[in-house]
Symmetry: C2
Subunit: 205 residues, 2 copies
Amino acid sequence: MGHRGQLFVLSGPSGAGKSTLRERVRKRFPDLWYSVSYTTRAPRPGEKDGEDYYFVSPETFAAAVKARGFVEWARVHEHCYGTPREQVMGHLENGREVLLEIDVQGARQVKIEMPQACFVFVLPPDVESLKKRLRRRATEGEPQMKVRLEQAAREMAEAPWYDYLIVNDELDRATEELAAVIMANRCRAPVILPRVRELVQPDRG
Amino acid sequence: MGHRGQLFVLSGPSGAGKSTLRERVRKRFPDLWYSVSYTTRAPRPGEKDGEDYYFVSPETFAAAVKARGFVEWARVHEHCYGTPREQVMGHLENGREVLLEIDVQGARQVKIEMPQACFVFVLPPDVESLKKRLRRRATEGEPQMKVRLEQAAREMAEAPWYDYLIVNDELDRATEELAAVIMANRCRAPVILPRVRELVQPDRG
């Protein structure tokens, strides 16, 4: 009768550096299972199906939504993204740790369905550096930029309910912090107790 | 209006390796303030007053107890140990992190008075290694050894109510774990939010 695996949810606004952080901790914790999301958007150059995302048609996505095939799903910038329920639940039930990197809408859904998950929010250090990062990745003009900044502001307003906040001002430090959250989580009493029951059980004379 | 500092309480049975772990994390986190305890026992060879302990007479100790000068105090193996209230409270009120390394009786008192502290319990990997460690440090014969083992068993029965359990089977790993608990604690939302209020405050059109 083992304990179930811990679910970690990594979220935050676009441009905060979530994916880089996620890739770094995956290297550090190879036993952490990362859930690849489904999406209706087209692959960008270099992206691989099944590795970066599962790229599916809008019809396939809609069918999965209808069949309750996603733990969470959200529409972000015209495209849909979803976390496959069966895989995630399977790993958790087998006691494995699972990592999701999802947007704030999706994180809210997970919070309602699985409140015992560990929620981590990645923040840019300030508005200026967020602008810089969004500008670097944006192919659109300034009006689109304004929309994205407003979107980021709405996303950052979600931060207060998360368990942990990581300010990504320095990537190495932010990586250490996310790794510490995962490692500390493994030391929580409910996780360790089943392993040390014999030691902590008082003698029954 | 800063937040108050976090209090970490490190406890566990004698022989689990608390002091070694404590010294290692102190090197890692020089800004963590370690509270040196008061004791009525005589200094062992090499121990320095004000560094390992404040060595005081039973009369001075009793007077401090009467004056509510200790956050917690306990009698362990014929001697008294106490944590000075004024210093600890002063640092916490100034927003500094404070580390206590105390026995389980004392930790219980802190839990009642300051339940928001972070409680970490250090465990030996198994009864055999606990025996070995106690034997190595014991100058007494086997009967005394039996008393100490029974004492350790009673102490270990306290583990379940702690926030974190660290199994000290490998010192480097145990140090990483304790460091992760401290670092993760610094990323908790209530600690970080005051620093990022401007970012997460939604626009008030």
